[in-house]
């Protein structure tokens, strides 16, 4: 069953849009456009609350305070005020995140996803994605069940990327963490190791993306 999201937004057009966008992304949405009504709503059945701070009747932060008395439901604040006071107070009162207007629907959906995302795997142990399996504690990498022979540096490199999937990591950071400082490793040495690692990963080499201006990223999406 789809997770339920409560949207508290006083602007009719914006409210309707947000509801449509969230529904299209696969969530079940309830929309309340009045602060007092929202304050009486029980947040318990919802996986997440999107709360606009500029509500008539009740100040948005009061609604947040009310919810926090009984519930730990993630609350994402919408604000148009260009002043940090709202955000700071919101976060102090227990909001989990905020989005400032104007925003693109993609941005809102991404924020909601980030809040609702469940950890797919324990990153400390490793990763199983596509044909690739990396076991960090046993220091083993397999592609389609066949072990891949990796040097220490190559495995460390893979481990660094796998530990933070879908995040770009700078060459400098990788040089720092993987290469032996005694042997004067630099970005060029790193690229050489990386090209060998990719060759050895075969069909799964595409999971290690080169990121312009930064370094490398391990792509952990299933359809990659």
């Amino acid at each position: 069953m789809a997770e339920r999201i409560l949207v508290v937004e006083d602007d009719a057009q914006l409210g309707r849009q947000i509801v449509e966008q969230l529904e299209r992304a696969g969530w079940a949405v309830k929309w309340i456009d009045d602060g007092d009504v929202a304050a009486r709503e029980d947040p318990a059945p919802y996986a997440l609350v999107i709360l606009d701070l500029m509500l008539p009747g009740t100040y948005g932060l009061d609604v947040l305070k009310r919810y926090r008395k009984t519930s730990d439901v993630p609350v994402l604040i919408l604000t148009a005020r260009d002043h940090p006071a709202d955000r700071v107070r919101g976060l102090e009162l227990g909001a989990d995140d905020y989005v400032t207007k104007p925003f693109w629907p993609e941005e809102l959906v991404a924020r909601v996803k980030a809040r609702l995302r469940r950890p797919v795997m324990t990153r400390a142990e490793g990763v199983v994605v596509g044909a690739l399996r990396v076991d960090l504690s046993a220091r083993v990498a397999e592609v389609a069940g066949a072990p891949v022979e990796l040097t220490k540096v190559e495995f460390d490199l893979l481990a660094e990327l796998v530990r933070r999937p879908n995040q770009a990591i700078t060459r400098d950071a990788l040089v720092d963490r993987v290469l032996d400082p005694e042997r004067m490793g630099n970005a060029r040495t790193l690229d050489v190791h990386m090209s060998r690692l990719r060759k050895k990963l075969g069909v799964e080499s595409k999971r290690i993306a080169t990121v312009w201006g930064i370094g490398y990223r391990f792509d952990a999406s299933e359809d990659a």
Partner: protein, 455 residues
């Protein structure tokens, strides 16, 4: 020059000539009186007996008791009065060979028609006098010591005395000035305190003199300033509130507009350049309104800037998430890298987000399809925003961030709004004490680096 020094110098400048002039006058007057008295006494004594003796028995006159042994009714002046140096005829021939010839200056003065001529030395005076008769004893020269006020020493003494009086007066004036100077200092401190305290309250008014008048004038002036300040700040508040509510009023429909545009693109308008252009403009409008609001806060200064703890990694991710849709629309790859551990700073999150956002937005906006933008946060901390767009020519790099700056061929590459956006970048960095550098690397593009201190 300080008040005391000025007063002392003025007093000295005034008093020294006056005292000197007075002393000279006194001496001169005394000497004139002395010469006159000598003349009168000499004429009187010569008339009594001197002329007769001189004419008939000059030897006796010379050897006589004129100067050496004075007695009542003697020929010449007494010792106290002086002694006769010589007697001459009309042509200045000495009456007796014992008399020295008449001094040239005295002779010249008498020849010029003066009846009396005097030659002053340090302690004595020689007076040459033409008697009111002719004959072998018609010119008499008397020498007498200078005493009393006519003496040079006395003149010097007068000057010394007067000068010490002047010095004492100056000292007295300086001492008397002390309390006045102290009051002026207190007033100065009060006025400075008032100015730094936003002209709140009055400076104390002491006494009823000019210093008190000055204090009252300051109070009147600061009352005027307070009034103006209140007017200005009231106008400022109204403007800020107006801007805040306008911002809010603009942001909501802008969000709705962005939603509609996004919907249009989703329905297959992705290939439609109009939709893409409209999306870019909508995004730009939002950035512009935020920049105006940020500029208003920056102009209002310190009280409007709020610092609180925030994680720069989160901030960078937020900025990237905000610009990801527009980067995708433009076909520009936008990536970022942040360290695993949070990078905590105390800063104004809105302004900082606007600063990084402006750099990212510019990097996307002036890039071409297929271009790249990377945002890198490193602990310490450093934020780097780099792109492979057209960059900025070397000679213009230094001027980036001036409010009016738009770059040379701005119309093609860096159109409207760049000036304000980069100005805010510069301003926010300055307010937070971050170092900001713009570089155009050899391989092209623009690299902007923000360096600050973590914590």
């Amino acid at each position: 020059m300080r008040l005391r020094a000025r007063l002392a110098l003025t007093l000295l400048a005034l008093a020294v000539p006056i005292v000197g002039g007075f002393a000279l006058y006194t001496t001169w007057n005394a000497r004139r009186a002395l010469v006159n008295a000598t003349y009168e006494a000499t004429v009187e004594r010569m008339e009594a007996r001197g002329r007769e003796i001189c004419e008939e028995r000059p030897e006796a006159f010379v050897r006589g008791p004129v100067g050496r042994r004075p007695r009542p009714g003697a020929l010449g002046p007494g010792r106290r009065f002086g002694r006769i140096l010589g007697v001459y005829d009309e042509l200045y021939t000495p009456r007796s060979p014992e008399f020295a010839p008449l001094d040239a200056p005295l002779r010249a003065a008498l020849a010029a028609g003066e009846s009396v001529a005097a030659d002053f030395a340090a302690a004595r005076v020689r007076v040459a006098m033409r008697m009111p008769w002719d004959g072998p004893c018609s010119v008499v020269v008397v020498e007498r010591p200078l005493t009393g006020p006519a003496a040079s020493e006395s003149a010097l003494g007068t000057v010394e005395f007067a000068l010490s009086a002047v010095v004492l007066t100056v000292l007295a004036a300086l001492v008397a000035l002390g309390p006045v100077v102290r009051r002026i200092r207190r007033l100065e401190a009060a006025v400075r305190g008032q100015a730094s305290g936003g002209y709140e309250g009055d400076v104390p008014v002491e006494g009823k003199d000019e210093v008190a008048d000055l204090a009252r004038a300051f109070n009147d002036a600061s009352a005027q300033i307070r009034l103006r300040l209140e007017e200005v700040s009231a106008r400022d508040r109204a403007l800020t509130e107006f801007l805040q509510s306008t911002t809010h009023d603009v942001m909501v429909p802008l969000t709705v507009l962005q939603g509609h545009l996004s919907e249009l693109r989703a329905r297959g308008g992705d290939d439609e350049p109009t939709v893409r252009a409209a999306m870019e403009e909508a995004h730009y409008l939002g950035a512009l309104v935020k920049n105006l609001s940020a500029a208003a806060r920056l102009d209002a200064g310190e009280p409007m800037i709020k610092r609180h703890e925030l994680d720069l990694g989160e901030l960078v991710e937020r900025v990237v998430a905000r610009h990801a849709p527009i980067a995708k629309t433009r076909g520009v790859a936008l990536n970022h890298a942040v360290p695993e551990a949070p990078v905590r700073v105390r800063a104004d999150s809105t302004l900082l987000e606007q600063m990084v956002g402006n750099l990212v937005h510019n990097a996307i906006r002036y890039n071409e399809e297929g271009g790249h933008v990377a945002v890198i946060l490193e602990p310490g901390f450093t934020i780097v925003v780099k792109d492979d767009g057209p960059g900025i020519p070397e000679e213009e790099l230094a001027r980036v961030g001036e409010r009016e700056f738009r770059g040379g061929d701005a119309r093609q590459r860096r159109p409207t709004g760049l000036g304000l956006g980069l100005h805010i970048v510069r301003d926010v960095a300055e307010r937070h004490g971050y170092a900001l550098t713009f570089e155009s690397p050899e391989e092209g593009g623009l690299t902007v680096t923000i360096r600050g201190v973590e914590g």
